[in-house]
């Protein structure tokens, strides 16, 4: 049974994944088609959570940078705290969009003995809980996909046993020589 994608997701991309998986597995009956649909669903889910994981981290970068800059810019007296906060907010906002802000951020980080990896590290600490949850969901989707694949293999093994027995029965009934000699025509 096909599943629904979100209104922000691409149906064309889903169709491509479905076609690719179907081409690889070549389902032969209703049950195999169901397992293939499961694989497509879990693959899609995995991609969705990977998007979320990357997004969570990306969205946290600005906040992380603002916090680092705030620590760097904050003077010993707290009288200028609001101004420093504003400066940090502004620079962190422009950091990804404006080359000049990027240059300023780099120079401030360098002055403090840091580099851009400090921003990523700070971002990780800010959203560690959510990242862990998203990763868990992504792993769960991966397990689902692998399980669907194993299920197809197990189902096909049973099917192969059935087919082999059928063919043995045909052989035992001496139907093969008839076909080999072409005497049925």
């Amino acid at each position: 049974m096909p599943f629904n994608v979100l209104r922000t997701e691409s149906k064309a991309d889903l169709a491509k994944i479905r076609a690719d998986v179907s081409q690889g597995i070549e389902p032969t009956d209703f049950i195999e088609r169901g397992f293939v649909e499961d694989m497509v669903y879990h693959t899609w889910d995995m991609m969705r959570y990977q998007r979320v994981t990357t997004g969570i981290l990306n969205n946290a970068l600005r906040k992380a940078l603002a916090q680092i800059l705030n620590e760097i810019l904050l003077p010993p007296s707290t009288a200028m705290a609001v101004e420093c906060w504003r400066a940090s907010q502004h620079l962190s906002h422009g950091w990804l969009l404006d080359p000049e802000s990027k240059r300023q951020v780099s120079s401030l980080l360098k002055e403090a003995g840091l580099d851009e990896s400090a921003i990523e590290a700070k971002a990780y600490t800010l959203v560690a809980d959510d990242l862990e949850k998203a990763n868990r969901m992504s792993n769960s989707a991966r397990e689902g996909r692998d399980k669907a694949l194993r299920s197809i293999a197990k189902y096909r093994k049973n099917l192969a046993v059935q087919l082999r027995r059928n063919s043995d029965r045909v052989l035992a009934a001496d139907e093969v020589p008839l076909i080999a000699n072409g005497e049925e025509n």
């Binding site: 049974m1 599943f3 629904n4 994608v5 979100l6 209104r7 922000t8 009956d29 209703f30 049950i31 169901g34 499961d38 669903y41 969705r48 998007r51 979320v52 997004g55 969570i56 990306n58 969205n59 810019l73 101004e83 420093c84 504003r86 400066a87 907010q89 502004h90 620079l91 906002h93 422009g94 969009l97 000049e100 300023q104 120079s107 401030l108 002055e111 959510d130 949850k133 998203a134 868990r136 969901m137 769960s140 689902g144 399980k147 299920s151 197990k154 189902y155 049973n158 099917l159 046993v161 059935q162 082999r164 027995r165 059928n166 043995d168 029965r169 045909v170 052989l171 035992a172 009934a173």
Partner: protein, 203 residues
């Protein structure tokens, strides 16, 4: 410590409040613990025709009573799975919509954006001059078109991750029930073929 008289009075009073008495009250309170209904088997809520149709497809050409029962179990689990997946999609969609509407209409965010644009930035810090921050208005879309949508999606999903984790359990349970039924059907079919086979055993 309560006296004998108080204990007796408490017991008498407790008899007066033993839950709803009317039919409608009992009906209403029966739904008190209802959260999402996802643990309810599909056969209790779904359409009979859909269940039968799916059962037939799982059973294939088999007429064995055991296989038919297993096929019905597989179909029931499959419909559960579809229901849970639909609920999951709807949950994310709702988070997307509410997240977007919430961010846009949040009065504090609007006020902050407005204030920042009005005041401007005149601060010079450690010799670094700061340009005017016109981009900080919350009503201004971010450049790149889909970036805003992507952020809304990520924030929406991020907020419902705990709920999604819970719903995932129902999904796994339903998938497990279906797969077990399918493999049992396949095993029975294999065993039946062996039993019915008139030819020699392949082993």
């Amino acid at each position: 410590m309560a006296s004998e008289r108080q204990i007796a009075a408490n017991r008498r009073n407790a008899q007066k409040s033993t839950g709803p008495k009317t039919g409608s009250g009992k009906k209403r309170s029966s739904k008190s613990a209802y959260r999402h209904g996802l643990s309810l088997p599909m056969s209790n809520v779904g359409s009979e025709a859909q269940l039968k149709d799916l059962s037939r497809q799982f059973a294939g050409d088999a007429s064995d009573a055991k296989i038919l029962a297993l096929a019905e179990r597989a179909a029931d689990a499959q419909l559960d799975l579809v229901r849970v997946r639909k609920a999951k999609t709807a949950m994310i969609e709702r988070a997307l919509m509410l997240g977007a509407a919430g961010a846009r209409s949040h009065p504090e965010l609007k006020e902050l954006g407005h204030r920042i644009v009005q005041n401007g930035w005149r601060r010079k810090t450690q010799g670094v001059s700061l340009p005017q921050p016109e981009l900080l208005d919350s009503a201004t879309p971010l450049p790149g078109g889909n970036e805003e949508e992507e952020r809304r999606f990520v924030n929406g999903v991020r907020h419902i991750l705990p709920e999604l984790t819970k719903i995932c359990r129902y999904e796994k349970r339903a998938a497990g029930r279906r797969d077990r039924a399918i493999h049992e059907i396949a095993s029975i079919k294999t065993a039946n073929k062996k039993y019915c086979s008139s030819g020699p055993s392949p082993e």
